[in-house]
Symmetry: C2
Subunit: 408 residues, 2 copies
């Protein structure tokens, strides 16, 4: 009999497993309607054959060898240009190309974190980031947010209280300031300024994870946190997953040049794929990005509107703040309704949604149990209609059960 | 003034930087001849345009969305088939597709290692793996090798001594058993059997890193360590970098199914690139791999022969065991000649080679200083002639200086 629970391996494996149990994905059957993921709408996946043929013929010696560790020079230059057009000024040596945004977050963790370090996240926060942080053995400090985003005054108080109590200062604040995942809230400029000021004052870093920044349907873009950073305290994480296609697996991180240089050394993976990097460079140089972003905006706005309308009709009990962009709606069910149970019953009835409980980092603190995250990004109009119908039926079943239990 | 040396960040950053200083690549100028890297010979980079067009048209919804975390099912099946054809039987759920082999090594470390853990490496060992291990804060236990590979009897004694002294057992043994990097030695079947037996007995794991296994020019293939593993103790790391092209950035790891399942959860990167995975599947299904491997073997054998001949003529003082495959020659210069100085002078004269000192994991133990690693994989015939000529001149200069110093 094989014994993986040998004395040497046991503590680490147990911790790793405990840290990751909550990240297991649901396994929907094929006929289920999936409102759970951040997939792209299939109709907006671009045709990249021309770019790929150029990459594999004209550029073959580049695209089939190892790439430079920081990323192709041409791609770093394009990222600098792209961010400059969005009001954020960085130098090429401040840019590190990664295998998607989550890889960037992991590299920042490897750079900054030691076991037992504290980090700050919002309540709720991006659920896929939670197991990454947890695998580094962090202590989570949760701060609330409101319609203006992360509550910086509350953060300041929390950190002051911790300092008084002799508890260690957090290494960084992790946030999704544009169309927050899962709540859809965009952090106001005033709050962003307060956050970078506090970071400079207390010496922590800020991770600005901003995949949805360009997926804006209306309203005016807020300056990136990185653009307001006068103290070299902000890591900005970007990705081509939401700009072009998730399957390219190319993201980037910008930050202080000396720390990016150390991350480049930590990124001991033989360089990110030069083939997909070159495909992106060719796409950007051909000037295809603006039209593609416009198509994404139009498509996802229509999806959002369809889902908001369907929910208003079928589930009038569910409250929500309609976001101006992004992929998700964050529903608040009436108090006392167990959203995890709603998600479970919905799954049985053929629609996959995520219970809000998945988005809270601390397992040892109480959190509201009546939220659902619903993704409108990659469903068709028919799927939205039918999926919301199924979800509403599941909700009514669970709510009726809850009422009956409270009466009896 | 920005202060990254804030109290919170300081210890981690210092350790990370110290651990990585030795991994900085040399920066050759454009006219230098590079004998330092594991790049592919440009002439054997395959034409993948057909595969890529299929991937981006017929398979677009798959290749441009997120991939399943373990890898495309079709690719896992192809890897199972490929390994079976090589005598190693694994089930699909034992296969995890990664962003290259180094990513696989890093994931194994994340699964198994805690700060301060001990691991075993050969003297010398693969230099790019050293900073990965070091970034996890490991203690290195070095074991020697001879012409039969890692000396398992010596390992057994070392581990018995450690146990007696109350020092912690190592979590794993890392080795490159086929055409070892840098020495080119292939571990004998008897030694492989002894190693898996010892692993089962003492409860450590074995990482079999085998990128060069198919780059064999002559002689008979030895069963993989994984194929001899009766105790579910072996992780086998493979890569398409050496089978097809480094730029694809697709590797894999096989191991005990329960541990692979945990690694899949740890691999929180949104899945490896489905585009390059599909390109590989199409290439394999078209039956192109055997002919491609044959071409690689013929090309690299010719390169090896040319370099061995040139070294024999120009640097008769340099001893070497001619490897039956792989990418590298491991040169032993006469005692007292400083190979690091030879590499430095060679760099000035326009040929980049790596000093053997880069391949020793422990910085607190004495190692021989008279080795050089020379890659023949991606140089042309003219570059081999001219590069060895420059290297020999650098060697003579340094050796003459050493003789003069010892006489005076």
């Amino acid at each position: 009999v094989t014994d993986h629970a040998s004395p040497a391996a046991q503590p680490t494996l147990a911790r790793r497993a405990a840290g990751l149990a909550s990240s297991l994905p649901a396994s929907p059957d094929a006929r289920s309607i999936a409102f759970d993921s951040g997939h792209a709408f299939p109709g907006v996946l671009p045709d990249l054959t021309r770019e790929c043929v150029v990459a594999l013929t004209t550029c073959r010696p580049e695209t089939l060898q190892y790439a430079p560790r920081p990323g192709l020079a041409d791609l770093r230059a394009e990222i600098v240009r792209f961010m400059a057009s969005d009001g954020t000024s960085v130098a090429p040596e401040q840019v590190l190309v990664t295998n998607g945004a989550k890889h960037a977050i992991e590299l920042i963790c490897r750079l900054l974190l030691d076991e037992g370090d504290a980090i700050v996240v919002t309540t709720p926060t991006y659920f896929t980031a939670i197991p990454i942080f947890r695998s580094f053995g962090v202590e989570f400090v949760e701060v609330p947010q409101d319609q203006h985003g992360l509550d910086v005054a509350h953060l300041r108080e929390t950190l002051a209280d911790r300092a008084k109590a002799g508890r260690r200062a957090p290494k960084f604040v992790y946030n999704v300031p544009d169309f927050h995942n899962p709540t859809g809230v965009t952090m106001s400029e005033a709050r962003r300024r307060e956050l970078v000021e506090l970071a400079g004052e207390l010496g922590f870093f800020v991770i600005e994870d901003s995949p949805y920044r360009k997926v804006r349907f209306e309203g005016v873009s807020v300056p990136s946190v990185a653009s307001l950073d006068g103290n070299a305290r902000v890591f900005h994480v970007g990705t081509f997953s939401k700009l072009m296609a998730p399957g390219l697996r190319v993201g980037w991180v910008t930050g202080p040049a000396d720390l990016i240089a150390r991350m480049i050394q930590l990124k001991s993976d033989g360089g990110s794929c030069p083939l997909t990097q070159r495909v992106i460079v060719e796409f950007l140089r051909a000037g295809r990005l603006p039209a593609h972003i416009a198509q994404v905006q139009v498509t996802y706005r229509a999806n959002r509107d369809a889902m908001v309308a369907a929910l208003g009709e079928e589930m009038p009990d569910a409250r929500m703040d309609v976001p101006q962009g992004g992929y998700y709606l964050w529903l608040t069910l009436p108090e006392g309704v167990d959203a995890t149970e709603v998600a479970r019953v919905a799954g049985e009835r053929g629609v996959i949604v995520l219970p809000g409980s998945r988005f809270f980092a601390r397992s040892d603190a109480p959190h509201p149990g009546n939220h659902l995250r619903v993704a409108y990004s990659h469903a068709t109009s028919d799927e939205i209609t039918e999926g919301v119908h199924r979800l509403a039926a599941a909700y009514r079943t669970v709510a009726a059960g809850a009422r009956a239990a409270s009466v009896s």
